[in-house]
């Protein structure tokens, strides 16, 4: 019964903090409960730390984010996914290519940093945050310290954009669709994108999720491109044969996206009643609540002190250019 002893106390802890965050959000006007959950987790984690007995349960927060996303598929209208499909795909490809290009140029010529650190930052900014940094690091063999450095930079931007994006969205009076697509295209990790999207509105959250998951599915392709690029200098491994390339693509592909798509299909063939879909959405919201408490608890403000100013400038300017361009483009298209 090891699992009961280790994971359950932490899960209970996440749930209690989540419920307190929900209560706070219901009392304080214009505070979204998902943002309240992250802030409360962040305060507890940085002031008192995570209690030892809760550690392994808190560590499951990424699982709950993914469960929430899979189940959220039930509330997604298939016609929306299909109608926007080709435009979203084009926007995602444009964003990924543009982000990699801009960050690589800035990291090489404007604020010179180590080439591979620049590549890790480009991957983290263009695809899906820390998981992209790790996937690309595996494909191009990078020193451990560079991975930690790039991951910390990406996490810093995750923590900041999570709060700044909804503020910008409201200040500019963006529609739910425009905000959701923009956040899904230009923010980094899946957790903060989901939180910022749903903090803005339900519809914005759904758009942000669709766009972000499309972007995440490019992780393998970008990792292979980088491994081929660096192969000439180091060693040819991941992309040395077609079979290896496909198996690498599959191994890096975020499989929970398939669960999300499966759920979209099941919900849209009409076997679920409205009340069942509402129940699934409620379940998804509970999963997000505990996931975001865990996300907040694991943001370590101390770790951001070790980041140098150059990587921060590279990502800040790169993100500024890409986010502004994409916002103009999305506003024109939708």
């Amino acid at each position: 019964m090891k699992m009961k002893q280790t994971v359950l106390p932490g899960l209970f802890f996440l749930l209690v903090v989540g419920i307190i965050a929900r209560l706070i959000a219901s009392v304080v006007p214009s505070v979204n409960y998902l943002i309240a959950a992250i802030v409360l987790g962040l305060v507890i984690g940085n002031v008192w730390g995570i209690p030892n007995w809760a550690r392994s349960g808190v560590g499951t927060h990424k699982l709950w984010l993914k469960v929430g996303i899979v189940v959220m598929g039930a509330g997604m209208a298939l016609d929306r996914v299909i109608t926007a499909g080709s435009t979203v795909l084009l926007l995602v490809v444009t964003t990924v290519v543009m982000t990699i290009g801009v960050i690589e140029l800035l990291a090489r010529f404007v604020f010179p940093i180590h080439q591979k650190t620049g590549s890790l930052l480009a991957a983290g900014s263009s695809i899906c945050g820390v998981s992209a940094v790790i996937a690309i690091a595996e494909s191009i063999s990078v020193r451990e310290s560079r991975i930690a450095y790039a991951a910390a930079t990406v996490l810093l931007f995750d923590a900041v954009t999570l709060f700044v994006y909804p503020i910008i969205g409201h200040a500019l009076g963006l529609s739910d669709t425009v905000f959701g697509i923009w956040a899904g295209l230009t923010m980094f990790s899946t957790g903060p994108v989901t939180a910022a999207g749903f903090a803005f509105s339900e519809a914005a959250g759904q758009w942000a999720l669709i766009v972000k998951l499309t972007r995440n599915s490019f992780i393998g392709l970008v990792a292979i491109t980088y491994s081929v690029y660096y192969a000439g200098r180091v060693n040819a491994d991941a992309a040395s044969s077609v079979y290896q390339a496909w198996s690498f693509l599959w191994s890096t592909f975020p499989k929970f996206i398939l669960g999300f798509l499966g759920m979209v299909l099941v919900a849209n063939i009409g076997i679920l009643s409205d009340s069942q879909i509402t129940s699934l959405e409620n379940m998804s919201n509970w999963a997000f609540l505990i996931a975001f408490v865990g996300l907040g608890l694991e943001i370590k403000l101390d770790e951001f002190r070790s980041i140098g100013y150059r990587p921060v400038l590279v990502v800040l300017i790169g993100m500024g250019i890409v986010a502004t361009t994409m916002l103009l483009l999305v506003r024109t298209l939708f």
Binding site: M1, V67, V70, I271, S279, M283
Partner: protein, 42 residues
């Protein structure tokens, strides 16, 4: 006779080794099953 404690311990150990993405898909569809069977989430 099957030792239930030992069997569930083995099951949990196997579950712990499953990749997070696959766990998420399993739990997601388990939720769907529970709800389709008529137990709504509060």
């Amino acid at each position: 006779m099957i030792n239930i404690v030992q069997a569930s311990d083995t099951m949990f150990r196997r579950w712990e080794n499953v990749e997070t993405d696959r766990k998420a898909v399993c739990l997601g569809f388990l939720t769907l099953l529970i709800i389709v069977l008529g137990v709504p989430v509060p």
